[in-house]
């Protein structure tokens, strides 16, 4: 299943820790990253597709005008949740998919986060019955897509070449993709490798 990048952008360590703790209660495949400086936004938020950005008002007030513009752009791959804390809001309210209010209790916060996570997951789960590939297979697939030979993959993963071949057979039969070029496209779509590697 497609994984979701969650970025928690807040100046306060306490808030970041609290939000990650709530997120951990979800069974969704999420990778969570906490940032405390606006410069990091460019590194994480605008590059990854399929991102849930949880950002506070006070964090936004530290952003440059370029960063603000990037934040306002609406894409279907970036969902934004505002944590409304102190200060005036520098962005129009409709920039955000959801707002966490100071008075929200943990149940409400949980529900708001869940709704956004589901929204992000929906396009990838709807109507697709896919045989799940295992983490090991994913790792092999990643290396295949990067152009490594079976022998090189075997060495990297400390397994036999025979095992690599078995993994590759399973990957092909699960995904219905036979060629390396095809597996590469799959790997990029599923963000196992970055498109730059292909170029």
């Amino acid at each position: 299943m497609e994984s979701i990048h969650v970025i928690i952008a807040d100046l306060s360590q306490l808030t970041r820790t609290g939000v990650s703790a709530i997120l951990r209660q979800f069974g969704y495949p999420t990778s969570c990253r906490e940032i405390m400086h606006p410069d990091r936004l460019t590194d994480y938020v605008f590059k990854n597709h399929n991102t849930l950005l949880i950002i506070s008002n006070s964090f936004i007030s530290k952003c440059s005008s370029d960063q603000l513009r990037n934040l306002t752009a609406r894409t279907r791959y970036l969902f934004k949740i505002l944590i409304r804390d102190s200060g005036t809001l520098l962005l129009p309210i409709h920039t955000f998919n959801e707002i966490i209010e100071p008075e929200d209790n943990d149940k409400i916060i949980f529900r708001k986060l869940e709704k956004q996570l589901q929204g992000l997951l929906k396009p990838f789960t709807a109507g697709i019955v896919q045989e799940e590939i295992s983490d090991r297979e994913k790792e092999v697939l990643r290396l295949v897509a990067m152009g490594f030979t079976n022998k090189e993959i075997a060495e990297k993963l400390f397994i036999s070449a025979h095992t690599v071949i078995t993994h590759r057979k399973n990957i092909t039969s699960k995904l219905g993709i036979k060629t390396i070029a095809g597996l590469t496209v799959y790997a990029v779509i599923h963000k196992l490798i970055s498109p730059d590697i292909v170029n």
């Binding site: 697709i128 993709i177 036979k178 060629t179 070029a181 095809g182 590469t184 496209v185 990029v188 292909v198």
Partner: protein
């Protein structure tokens, strides 16, 4: 239903419009009125038996008169194969490329990178296919012509024998790779994995073309592997047997 020479060609097209691509491959233009297949073939100097066998095997997947097809000359068979190559490279592939281009343009800027990958994948496929075709046209077909010439002249010369030793149908069989794998992958990527198609109709149009091309290529490879190869093998064998005698 088997297509026969007395049938009107127009009727046949109504029966199965996919046969349009076959008749164009034989150089037949539309506007043939109510003429029978026999008649149209006479107009265009087409071997009617061969034409019918190709129509029928294309029309009906279970119909494949292997032995009968092998009875036709290498010239006829190769001419048809060449025409098909031309059709793939100069008609089908550009059509699909255009569709893919439109598909990739229909995605929003920030996600376009992923869809450009698809274009790239298809470009890779195109190269693979044209390499395959080049090799056949420049190496394999000239070779089979020379074998047929020697066989028909009942003249197993040193040259032809050494050329058989150098490259024979056994080698072709071995190297004749499957050009459909990448198409199969592309279909699955579009059907199963491409996230959020911006324009589903475009996606469907591409898929439709890919399915068609795949079927056509399979059919084509079947003629190469099951008709041309055994036919030329038979002649190679005759030449080698009569060289020492």
């Amino acid at each position: 239903m088997l297509i026969h020479s007395k049938m009107k060609l127009a009727e046949v097209i109504h029966l199965n419009y996919h046969l349009l691509q076959i008749i164009s491959r034989f150089g037949i233009n539309l506007g043939f009125g109510d003429k029978s297949i026999e008649h149209v073939c006479r107009d265009y100097f087409i071997d009617v038996d061969f034409f019918l066998e190709i129509l029928n095997s294309y029309h009906n997947k279970d119909y494949f008169p292997q032995k009968h097809l092998q009875g036709f000359s290498v010239g006829l068979i190769v001419e048809y194969l060449r025409k098909s190559h031309e059709y793939y490279l100069h008609t089908k592939i550009p059509e699909i490329e255009q569709l893919l281009q439109r598909l990739s343009d229909s995605y929003p800027e920030e996600t376009r990178e992923t869809y450009q990958l698809i274009d790239k994948f298809f470009t890779g496929y195109k190269l693979e296919l044209s390499d395959h075709i080049q090799r056949e046209e420049h190496k394999v077909y000239p070779y089979v012509f020379s074998v047929e010439n020697a066989y028909l002249a009942r003249n197993p010369t040193v040259e032809i024998v050494s050329s058989i030793h150098n490259y024979s149908m056994d080698d072709f069989e071995e190297e004749h790779d499957n050009v459909e794998d990448k198409l199969y992958d592309l279909k699955n990527i579009l059907i199963k994995y491409l996230p959020l198609p911006a324009d589903p109709r475009l996606c469907q149009a591409v898929l439709f073309e890919l399915f068609r091309l795949e079927t056509d290529l399979n059919d084509h490879a079947r003629i190469e592997d099951k008709v041309l190869v055994p036919k030329v093998k038979y002649m190679e064998k005759w030449i080698l047997e009569h060289f020492n005698a």
